[in-house]
């Protein structure tokens, strides 16, 4: 009985602290039609939604208000999320962190590019981007959701740590370029796939493509399964590259 009471007390305490975290957030709404890019240089959680509206919903830790700058750069049609330079605190005292990130909700249909140099979690509720989509990371980026869809091309550029757990990458051309650590899983309908690696890879993709090109001077494990009409691999690194399951008889 004592143990059950203690467990209930602990659960209540953690629920209270979670709601306390949310209570301590402030919100604002920006409006901009046809947003093309998102640039984040501070810890951010981004949700791409299915909404057809032009509104961008932002929430941030209340005590971070004077230290951050969030606005739409109309010239580049870009949402900028960054530190306010004139009030820069030391990194240790900065009130925004991966545990208390900026939270942004954006309608996706016009988005083309997402750039991250800090800690980002990107969740795709709605998968459809513009004709092409580029996600570039020099910090730490985790991508979750069912799928990403961009008719012409999807490009992932990484020099930091990117873990991409999307189940599908639907496009005509898929490009993976990595000099850091890149985890890519799922399946893709791309007819042309190009992977350039000088970093550490953990790739496991099911494909149905006409052309697969891999250039590797890095390390890690690269595995392609499914079907490919043409495969071209150049490797001077120590990566384990497996394509034997392609076109398996």
């Amino acid at each position: 009985m004592k143990r059950i009471s203690l467990s209930i007390a602990l659960i209540m305490a953690s629920l209270f602290s979670l709601s306390a975290q949310d209570a301590d957030y402030k919100s604002m709404t920006l409006t901009f039609a046809e947003l093309k890019e998102v640039h984040a240089t501070i810890p951010t959680h981004i949700t791409i939604t299915a909404s057809g509206s032009d509104t961008i919903d932002v929430s941030y830790p209340a005590d971070a208000e004077e230290y951050i700058d969030i606005f739409v750069d109309k010239k580049d049609s870009a949402l900028i999320i960054k530190r306010e330079k004139s009030t820069v605190k030391s990194r240790r005292d900065f009130p925004v962190s991966e545990k208390r990130p900026i939270r942004v909700s954006i309608p996706s249909s016009s988005i083309r590019r997402i750039l991250n140099t800090s800690d980002m979690v990107l969740h795709l509720e709605n998968s459809t981007f513009d004709n092409w989509a580029m996600i570039a990371n020099t910090g730490t980026l985790g991508i979750t959701g069912e799928a990403i869809v961009a008719k012409t091309k999807i490009e992932y550029y990484n020099t930091g740590t990117m873990t991409n757990n999307l189940k599908r990458h639907d496009t005509s051309m898929l490009m993976l370029s990595n000099t850091g650590f890149l985890l890519t899983k799922g399946e893709t309908s791309a007819a042309h796939i190009e992977q350039n690696s000088t970093g550490i890879e953990n790739t496991d993709l099911r494909v149905s493509c006409k052309k697969l090109e891999i250039h590797s001077t890095g390390s890690g494990k690269i595995r392609y399964r499914g079907s490919a009409d043409s495969v071209n691999i150049a490797s001077t690194g120590s990566a384990h590259i497996s394509t034997s399951e392609l076109n398996a008889e």
Binding site: A228, D229, S230, V231, N232, I233, A234, S235, T236, G237, S238, A239, H240, I241, S242, T243, S244, L246, N247, E249
Partner: protein, 131 residues
């Protein structure tokens, strides 16, 4: 009894011929792992059914003597089962072309020291003349 022995012998020979290419195929299918390696593969498909009718693979490697040795040993081990065999050898290099007719495969290896090139062509069925 005699007929049964002939059938068993033919089945055994066919199995050995399949295994011949399997050893070389196994090396070609093995994951690339270190060294300087280029691997290319292309398939030709039946336009209607999508079925693969021909597959061509090429593996080039430099600086990996152990891999060259493994491939040469695989070719040598299967010499007896090949339907055609042509070899050129000098002090530094070996070139072998081996042919199997059933199934139809043409495998070539050129090994010079630690530089290796392997070409493997597999023809699953002849192309149909659609004209």
């Amino acid at each position: 009894m005699k007929r049964l022995l002939i059938i068993v012998a033919m089945v055994a020979i066919a199995a050995i011929e399949c295994q011949a290419q399997e050893r070389i195929d196994e090396l070609l299918n093995r994951e690339l792992n270190g060294g300087t390696t280029v691997y290319r593969m292309a398939v030709k498909r039946d336009a209607e059914s999508g079925e693969i009718i021909k597959r061509v693979r090429e593996l080039r490697s430099t600086g990996n003597r152990a891999l060259s040795k493994e491939f040469l040993e695989a070719f040598d081990a299967e010499r007896e089962s090949a339907d055609g065999w042509e070899e050129n050898r000098n002090s530094n290099a070996r070139q072998i072309t081996a042919v199997w007719t059933n199934p139809k495969r043409i495998y070539t290896i050129i090994a010079t020291g630690s530089t290796l090139a392997v070409y493997a062509q597999t023809i699953y069925r002849e192309e149909r003349d659609d004209k």
